[in-house]
């Protein structure tokens, strides 16, 4: 097991970054960006998720194959959920016949 201990400073730093990004999400929600409303919200959310996964969950420093496999599988499964749901949403109101 490769133990990589992060300093508590680092943890607080990440936590503050997450809080700032939460405030940014809330602020941006009050500005109308047209079609970019969802895009901006999702980009910030993805950034926050990355911070949590990489630092809080130690994935950045994980050298074990099993951990990497779990991450890849999780992302793949998320894509399955999104893509196959979009197969419905993308074509639900299309005319057929």
């Amino acid at each position: 097991m490769s133990e990589h201990v992060l300093s508590s400073k680092m943890y607080y730093g990440i936590w503050i970054a997450l809080m700032i990004l939460t405030v940014v999400t809330a602020r941006v929600a009050f500005i109308d960006l047209g079609p970019f409303n969802t895009v901006v919200a999702l980009v910030i959310a993805t950034g926050k998720a990355l911070l949590v996964v990489l630092f809080f969950m130690h994935v950045k420093y994980a050298s074990e194959k099993l951990v990497k496999m779990v991450i890849v599988a999780s992302i793949f499964w998320l894509l399955l959920l999104l893509l196959l749901s979009l197969a419905d949403y993308g074509t639900r109101y299309a005319r057929h016949g």
Binding site: L66, W77, L80, S85, D88, G90, R92
Partner: protein, 543 residues
């Protein structure tokens, strides 16, 4: 060696410590398996009680025993209790918990305390569910469909949702423990291609539990939030979409069927190899078919939504993908049959359950193909055809597998033999009772009897009477094993370490095993199902 000396006084996991504390604070995977066994049996009989009330109500066409509201609650709680509190934990949490470390030659699971936590989460969830049942229950159907669950039902939706949310975490922790254990704790020489197929199937099951269950958890949480805070995720008047709930719910709940059936398949591979005295035909294909089922199982969910208003194009895709799952399932069934070909078959109780499993699972699986076909699905959606189909998979498949496995490993678990003739008798009763209960429902459904109604037109009565009669026979078949298993714990003949003369590491330690499973850490220098190198004994000793 099949002729080990019987040593009933030997120290083992059951007699090492006594007292309630030694059970409630145990971190031994075998004791936790027994804790699960007792708890899921309790919930099985609660769910079964609801089922019997449903069948009694349907004995006559009129709604006479209960009224519509009560009936809605009965089928909802039957489904929720049976699925989330019995079927999903059944084989993994009881037999899997007991056997995964034994089969791979480990002392315990990778995270023993997490294992105990998972049982406590299950108990908390179960207590909440019981409270929900006793204080009015819930009537949404086990599927919690929106908008009924979020906007209209005035029953205990939040409480049931939270109970299942917590039960989900218990399931995730079991899956996590198995994945890490199988990767990290295998005995020297236990390579991936020497793993028993029981382990392969449990690995596949764990992947589904890990990757699917969080989606169910967040979906139920969204239902709770929408109900309490009126969020609008599923409410079209606030920009939401009620079908989004069905997408998210079935993304987990379709693969959940494979959480139930894959472990039953795991049991069958062990039982069939042992009682035909042969290596499983096409070992690698059967192993890989478990992984294929786990992956393909996630690509088919919207076949539950063909008439719900999803796009025709996506319905076509999901219909085609649904046929894919039949391929690995058929590989398993064909390979088990090929294993039996020219095998030396013994008709013991576990083997009778295995035969029952193959027949009933095949019928359930093939009628699943009818339902995957867009045209037929429109005709039979929400009819008793669907009910019969999934009971053939979940009860005919998963419960048969569970009972077969419980009989097969009972000597190892309890150190005692159950009465074999009574076991065979109960297996036959279960098979007959099951078919009498559910086969008529195929016909009823095809004739158009809808599910979830408390009354029906009189022309459906004969078949419904047959079904109700069958359910009482089935109930007898389920009570019998409980009675003779309990009896055998005190009066059963002591079991040798390998009463079936079976292959596998779990049979190389005493019955019941010592707390740390093996006196000497095992080293594996043989393939799985090495039956050609196991000397024959005169006959299989039975209790």
């Amino acid at each position: 060696m099949a002729t080990a000396v019987i040593t009933p006084e030997r120290e083992n996991y059951l007699n090492q410590e006594y007292g309630i504390k030694s059970w409630l604070l145990t971190v031994d995977h075998k004791r936790i398996a027994l804790l699960y066994l007792v708890s899921i049996t309790f919930f099985f009989f609660i769910g079964g009680f609801f089922a019997l009330l449903i069948r009694l109500e349907l004995l006559t066409p009129a709604g006479d025993l209960v009224q519509a509201d009560t009936y809605n609650k009965l089928f909802t709680m039957h489904g929720q209790v049976m699925i989330f509190f019995f079927l999903i934990p059944s084989i993994p949490a009881v037999l899997g918990n007991f056997l995964v470390p034994l089969m791979i030659g480990a002392k315990d699971l990778a995270f023993p305390r997490l294992n105990l936590l998972s049982w406590y989460l299950y108990i908390i969830a179960g207590a909440l569910m019981l409270h929900c049942i006793c204080t009015g229950g819930v009537d949404t159907g086990w599927t919690f469909y929106t908008p009924f669950s979020t906007a209209f039902s005035n029953t205990k939706v939040v409480e049931a949702g939270v109970a299942i949310f917590i039960a989900g975490f218990s399931s995730i922790l079991t899956g996590l423990n198995f994945v890490v254990t199988i990767h990290r704790m295998r005995a020297p020489g236990m390579t991936w291609d020497r793993l028993p197929l029981f382990i392969w199937a449990h690995y596949a099951t764990s992947v589904i539990q890990l990757l699917g269950t969080p989606v169910l958890a967040i979906t139920l949480l969204l239902v709770v939030f929408e109900r309490v805070f009126h969020l609008g995720i599923f409410d079209p008047t606030r920009g939401g979409d009620p079908l989004l709930f069905q997408h998210l719910f079935w993304f987990y709940s379709h693969p959940a069927v494979y959480i139930m059936i894959l472990p039953a398949m795991a049991v069958e591979s062990e039982v069939i190899a042992c009682f035909t005295r042969k290596r499983i035909f096409g070992y690698k294909f059967v192993a890989m078919s478990s992984i294929a089922i786990a992956v393909f199982g996630f690509l088919v969910w919207a076949h539950h939504m063909f008439v719900a208003g999803i796009s025709l194009y996506s319905a076509l895709i999901f219909s085609a993908l649904s046929y894919l799952v039949a391929v690995p399932s058929a590989i398993k069934v064909f390979n088990w049959t090929a294993t039996m070909y020219k095998g030396s078959i013994t008709f013991t109780t576990p083997m009778l359950y295995a035969f029952g499993f193959i027949g009933l699972f095949t019928m359930g699986g093939l009628t699943g193909l009818f339902l995957a076909a867009l045209g037929i699905d429109v005709h039979v959606t929400d009819t008793y055809f669907v009910i019969a189909h999934f009971h053939y998979i979940m009860v005919g498949g998963a419960v048969m597998g569970y009972l077969g496995g419980l009989h097969f490993w009972w000597p190892k678990i309890s150190g005692r033999m159950y009465p074999e003739w009574l076991g065979k008798f109960a297996a036959l009763i279960v098979f007959l009772g099951f078919n009498l209960t559910f086969f008529p429902q195929f016909i009823l459904g095809y004739m158009g009897m809808p599910r979830r109604y408390w009354q029906y037109p009189p022309e459906f009565q004969v078949l419904n009477v047959l079904s109700t009669a069958g359910s009482t026979i089935l109930a007898v078949g389920y009570v019998l094993p409980m009675v003779y298993f309990l009896w055998s714990m005190r009066y059963g003949k002591p079991a040798t370490e390998n009463p079936w003369n079976a292959a596998g590491l779990e049979w190389k330690t005493s019955s019941p095993p010592p707390t740390f499973n093996f006196d000497q850490p095992p080293v594996v220098d043989f393939e799985a199902y090495d039956y050609e190198h196991i000397p024959e004994v005169e006959e299989v000793p039975v209790g």
